[in-house]
């Protein structure tokens, strides 16, 4: 049994979601190979080769993969898929776009966004925005699986697997990358941050949000948001946490002005300690919070910022 993992990377560094997906793949009891497709991706391939449990890295270095265009990457995976019993990718915006194409052409169902592996065929995955957990058994044939990164620990470094140079796959020529607007942030990456502070509609104004950003910097926290906060333009779409956004499982999650719709809770309820700050004492978010503070947001954000400074957080 051998698994192929589609690595997520920016040519130089490997995304943490890859190491987490490797952990999941190792639980299948398989030999694990990692596909690093990129353009000038030697560093990312070397990083993948160092992850414990990796048997080999397939490096496909070609301008075709300068950006992870779904049609081209799926065609590449399909060109080598017959060698593998399972194909896995992290359930990111990239993995989610590519893997269903692979499953469809292989004529196998995909198991989306697994959160637990019971045995090599049996998986848990959330449905209905995480309000229900489903246990499913995959049929015989190649397994095509996306893995929710926050549900698995990252595999550690400590190996030295061979990096095998592998030819590019066919160019489907269907899609052309034009450009991207990447949110620039010096803060930690949201899905792997130890601390996340999230804004909801209740934060209300840009002024309040700016104070929240100052608090985030003092706590070295990533900044998240509810759908409502993104919709009113407080922050960019890639900050959205929940059923249709990102899923986090941080050590500390601070929800500010977030009422706690199931669609948001599904994206953060596996955090270790949850703090809710809301002016409405009946907000559902308090039912899942370890520590709740009922307060008007504008003064309380100022107060937290000052109190953190007083306690030496800079």
């Amino acid at each position: 049994m051998t698994s192929l993992i589609l690595a997520e990377h920016d040519n130089n560094t490997l995304a943490d979601s890859t190491a987490r997906t490797i952990t999941a793949a190792l639980q299948l009891g398989n030999s694990v190979e990692v596909l690093v497709a990129g353009d000038g991706c030697a560093k990312a391939a070397d990083a993948a080769a160092q992850i414990s449990g990796v048997a080999a890295v397939l490096k496909v270095d070609d301008p075709l993969y300068a950006h992870p265009v779904a049609e081209a990457v799926a065609a590449l995976i399909l060109s080598i898929a017959s060698r593998y019993d399972a194909v896995l990718a992290p359930a990111t915006s990239t993995g989610k776009a590519i893997l269903p194409r692979v499953a469809a052409v292989l004529d196998v169902p995909q198991i989306s966004e697994i959160t637990r592996i019971l045995d090599a065929d049996t998986f848990e995955r959330p449905i209905y925005a995480g309000s229900v957990v489903q246990t499913v058994k995959a049929p015989a044939g190649t397994k095509v699986i996306t893995v929710r990164p926050s549900a698995f620990a990252a595999a550690a470094a400590g190996a030295n697997a061979p990096v095998v140079v592998t030819p590019a796959g066919p160019d489907p020529g269907l899609t052309r990358f034009v450009g991207e607007t990447v949110s620039q942030s010096t803060r930690p990456e949201l899905t792997t941050a130890k601390t996340v502070i999230s804004a909801g509609r209740g934060v209300g104004s840009k002024d309040n949000f700016d104070v929240l950003l100052r608090i985030a910097d003092k706590l070295k926290a990533a900044v998240g948001a509810s759908r409502a906060a993104v919709d009113i333009g407080l922050t960019a779409n890639d900050c959205q946490i929940g059923q249709t956004g990102k899923v986090v499982a941080s050590d500390l999650y601070i929800a500010v002005g977030i009422s706690g719709a199931i669609q948001h809770i599904s994206g953060m309820k596996d955090s270790r300690i949850i703090v809710a700050i809301n002016k409405d004492e009946d907000a559902p978010i308090f039912k899942i919070a370890d520590y709740g503070l009922v307060a008007d947001l504008s003064p309380v954000l100022q107060e937290i910022d000052l109190e953190l400074a007083r306690r030496g957080y800079a």
Binding site: H67, V69, A70, E71, T92, S93, T94, K96, A97, I98, L99, P100, R101, V102, A104, V105, P109, Q110, I111, S112, E113, P126, I127, Y128, A129, G130, S131, V132, T135, V136, K137, A138, P139, G173, L174, T175, R176, V178, G179, E180, S183, K194, R227, V230, D231, A236, N237, D238, Q243, T244, L252, Q263, K269, V275, D290, Y291, G292, V300, E307, R311
Partner: protein
């Protein structure tokens, strides 16, 4: 250009689903059912394309029980021209859905298919890319902005790091994200008018697709619940607690 838009009848996003006593599945009886919210956005986008003169006919497809005709009527009331209902009772997996849609696309020859990026019941997010792959077409998932030209479409899509712009060759499959548009409400006159619009009924067998599930659902359960926490009275008390827990 003809546009096909797909709609799924799902448990309303505000309804709380219950687990059947034997844990075999979700009890959907007596729950409010609605059009999948992402599909509403897909319907709206198709109608806007027609209003802009980019599309000349919109066909809505739903796969599901006879009640899915109500979901199709909702789309017709919003402004879609005609409907196709593929009658299937029970769960239909994404791959079978994609095969049914492929068969319809081969017959209808659309220039564009618009689907939701995921359904809010199974949260699988597979149908759009699977359909594109089966047809050998381009895809654009999580679409934030769509600009259709003659032979290509320029698409902005939401990614985990921001926004990406791509050009896709048509025909293509695009899947909608939340901020693509705000779906309209159907007016009473358009609801009345929609009653006269045609809905063609087919079965999966008519289209040569076997919908027997291939993934076995062994059971469902509630997720682990969190123990109730405490309310703190002040910022100082909150920060004390967090320092004691060594998370700040």
């Amino acid at each position: 250009m003809k546009v096909i838009v797909t709609v799924k009848r799902v448990v309303d996003y505000n309804a709380k689903v219950r687990i059947k006593a034997d844990g075999s599945g979700v009890d959907r009886s007596n729950l409010k059912m609605s059009m999948n919210p992402f599909d509403e956005i897909a319907v709206e986008e198709a109608i806007r394309l027609k209003e802009k003169g980019k599309a000349d006919e919109i066909v809505v497809v739903s796969i599901g029980p006879s009640e899915a005709a109500d979901t199709i009527r909702t789309a017709l009331a919003m402004g879609v021209d005609r409907g196709i209902l593929v009658r299937c009772d029970g769960e239909v997996e994404s791959l079978a859905v994609a095969k049914i849609l492929k068969s319809i696309c081969v017959a209808e020859q659309p220039g564009l298919v618009i689907t939701g990026k995921q359904a809010i019941d199974d949260d699988a997010g597979q149908t759009g890319p699977m359909l594109a792959a089966l047809l050998g077409w381009a895809q654009a998932t999580r679409v934030y902005r769509l600009d259709v030209s003659d032979r290509t479409a320029r698409v902005e899509r939401e990614t985990d790091t921001g926004l990406e712009t791509i050009d896709v060759c048509l025909p293509a499959v695009v899947t909608t994200d939340l901020r693509l548009n705000e779906p309209r409400f159907a007016s009473l006159p358009s609801i009345m008018k929609a009653r006269k619009k045609p809905i063609e009924e087919k079965t999966a067998a008519d289209l040569g697709v076997d919908t027997t599930p291939r993934v076995t659902v062994l059971g469902v359960k509630e997720p682990a619940t969190r123990a109730a926490g405490i309310k703190v009275e002040s910022v100082a008390e909150l920060l004390d607690k967090l320092q004691q827990a060594e998370v700040i």
